[in-house]
């Protein structure tokens, strides 16, 4: 995954260790805004779409995540690798993103297949259910900003819009 970004005003590519960190994560913490403007956090299964800087996941149409995103299409995604003993080993990424919702059966099915590939049948079926054709919506999150930290050191990458390679 090659992503053109901006770090301290300089154009650059998103470092591989950050892309790999995103791709290797299992659950991702997703924060949306609910109807009372409170942040609402949900752990989600997600996939990265091949060759694109897009993170995708599917959710039930009646879920809080969908209701929140229909009202307010921004979210924050966090992946972390925390160490309870050594604070300098903590690594993590927070992505601020804007979303696009899709009800297309083909998109949903594609995403479902990618999720099954990544997590296996057992996990995807238990978490998302079996009846995936109906009542589901695919969410594509396009990153606007990626913050990477290792211990107390932070790097903030602003994603260049529509310049995916």
């Amino acid at each position: 995954m090659k992503v053109v970004c901006e770090l301290n005003g300089q154009e650059c590519l998103l470092p591989d260790y950050i892309s790999q960190f995103i791709l290797s994560a299992s659950f991702i913490y997703c924060a949306t805004l609910n109807d009372t403007n409170n942040p609402q956090i949900h752990p989600l299964l997600f996939v990265n779409e091949l060759g694109k800087c897009l993170l995708s996941f599917i959710q039930n149409i009646n879920s809080d995540v969908i209701k929140n995103l229909q009202r307010h299409p921004y979210l924050a995604l966090t992946i972390d690798n925390t160490d309870p003993e050594n604070p300098f080993s903590n690594t993590g990424i927070m992505i601020e993103a804007i979303v696009k919702l899709s009800t297309s059966n083909q998109h949903i099915q594609n995403c479902f297949e990618l999720l099954r590939e990544k997590y296996g049948d057992n996990i995807v079926t238990k978490v998302l259910g079996i009846d995936i054709d109906t009542n589901y919506i695919k969410i594509q999150a396009r990153p606007l900003k990626i913050v990477y930290w290792k211990g107390p050191f932070f790097q903030t990458y602003k994603c260049k819009q529509k310049k995916y390679t």
């Binding site: 299992s26 659950f27 913490y29 924060a31 949306t32 805004l33 009372t36 403007n37 409170n38 942040p39 609402q40 956090i41 949900h42 752990p43 039930n60 009646n62 879920s63 809080d64 307010h72 921004y74 979210l75 924050a76 995604l77 966090t78 972390d80 925390t82 309870p84 003993e85 050594n86 604070p87 300098f88 903590n90 993590g92 927070m94 601020e96 057992n122 996990i123 238990k126 978490v127 259910g129 606007l144 211990g151 107390p152 050191f153």
Partner: protein, 427 residues
């Protein structure tokens, strides 16, 4: 939705049914009562040439009554504001039973008993060689007997005071009875699920209003100064009320923790990190912000420690809504993961060095306790941060006030999350 029945104290009913109080809403009707006492007292003072000390005592008495009534009305209003229809059947039954007892007219029985005791004291103390306030006024005014209007005024004010003293004790006993019933419910696993920790906290917040109402009784102390025995009895009564009310509040705090499901309480106590969600309002859009953070739970509120220059602090300064998410992160089978989401409001103990210093002065016991809890939970972290102090950017060094601040999170809603469920369940 309003409760099916308007629960009111006896005095509220009296105000509603008596002109001119019925024309005014609280607190103006209570203010009118204060005005009536003031003008009546002043008229008596000038008519009968009463010594000034008695006028002063009367003013204190009327003012004490005013504060007490306002607080009790506020307490009643807080309880009435509970949306009973929103509650589940078990909590509804529990709450309605509490309100039925609390607002029962029999509350006046204790008040009458107290009034009768005071009357007995007024009329019989001289036979035991004790002088009372009535005898003191009579002597100071050099009269053989007190004017009927003055006696009526004194008795009316005495009854009003006794009514509040009796009502206070009645309320505390009903609160304690409610606590014992609640404790019984919480001991039963099948019934515990019906009770929400945040609802118990709302009860506690209402009870604190009543707790403050008791302190208005201290305004009556100068009234008792004229009669040492009465003052001693009044102080003893107020101390007793404070003691019982404190027991009630502490007990409710214990029950608040008990209402959190055992599995989730263990998760909260054993987890090292919580995902902290805030809202970024720096741009024209509201974008959520979420990062893992160390936290502590003191059995009541959550606390996090963060850098003064962190995004969280900037976000919370503008909008104090905050969410914590704590999960079990099951590595063997992630579908077995479960967690708890806590939505609440935050309080920053200083968002820069100046305000931080002020908060340390004002809230040092709280902050020292929080610091001790952090030290106990994360000894290695603190140790690492101190050892490698110079390698860390200044903004993240462990320097209270200079670079770090404490954020308190007051829970308002708890949600249970399970990986295999679509949505979170509020409890």
């Amino acid at each position: 939705m309003q409760p099916p029945k308007k629960y009111k104290f006896l005095q509220e009913h009296v105000f509603e049914g008596t002109w001119p109080f019925s024309r005014l809403k609280p607190p103006f009707n209570v203010f009118l009562l204060l005005l009536i006492y003031f003008s009546w007292g002043l008229a008596l003072y000038f008519t009968y040439n009463i010594p000034f000390i008695y006028l002063f005592a009367g003013v204190c008495g009327a003012f004490g009554l005013f504060l007490w009534t306002i607080s009790i009305f506020k307490y009643a209003k807080k309880l009435r504001n509970v949306e009973i229809e929103r509650l589940n059947s078990v909590t509804k039954k529990f709450h309605v039973e509490f309100l039925e007892y609390l607002f029962h007219p029999s509350s006046i029985v204790i008040s009458i008993a107290v009034f009768l005791l005071v009357l007995t004291y007024f009329f019989s103390s001289s036979s035991f060689g004790l002088n009372n306030i009535l005898i003191y006024i009579q002597d100071d005014m050099a009269l053989n007997s007190l004017p009927p209007l003055l006696i009526f005024f004194i008795f009316l004010m005495t009854f009003d005071i006794c009514y509040r003293l009796g009502l206070t004790i009645f309320i505390i006993f009903i609160q304690l009875r409610r606590d014992f019933i609640l404790a019984r419910y919480l001991k039963n696993p099948s019934l515990k699920a019906y009770f929400s920790a945040t609802d118990i906290r709302s009860l506690e917040n209402s009870d604190v209003v009543h707790y403050l109402a008791i302190s208005s009784g201290l305004a009556l102390v100068p009234l008792g100064y004229l009669d040492r025995f009465l003052m001693f009895m009044l102080l003893a009564y107020i101390m007793f009320a404070f003691l019982l009310s404190s027991i009630n509040i502490i007990y409710l705090r214990i029950l608040y923790v008990r209402a959190i499901p055992d599995g989730l309480l263990t998760l909260i106590r054993n987890s090292n990190f919580a995902q902290i969600g805030t809202i970024s309002v720096s741009s024209s859009n509201k974008i959520p912000h979420v990062t893992p953070t160390l936290f502590i739970f003191d059995g009541r509120d959550f606390f996090i420690s963060t850098s003064l220059s962190s995004k969280k602090v900037r976000n919370l300064q503008k909008r104090n809504k905050i969410t914590l998410f704590i999960d079990s992160k099951e590595k063997k089978d992630m579908t077995q993961s479960f967690g708890v989401q806590i939505m609440g409001r935050s309080k920053i103990y200083g968002h820069d060095s100046k305000t931080g210093f002020l908060f340390v002065l004002l809230f040092s016991p709280v902050l020292i306790r929080v610091l001790m809890l952090f030290l106990r939970k994360y000894p290695n972290y603190i140790n690492y941060y101190w050892r490698f102090h110079e390698k860390i950017p200044r903004a993240w060094q462990v320097l209270p006030i200079v670079s770090r601040t404490i954020i308190k999170i007051v829970p308002e809603h708890f949600f249970y999350w399970k990986a295999s469920r679509v949505d979170q369940v509020r409890f």
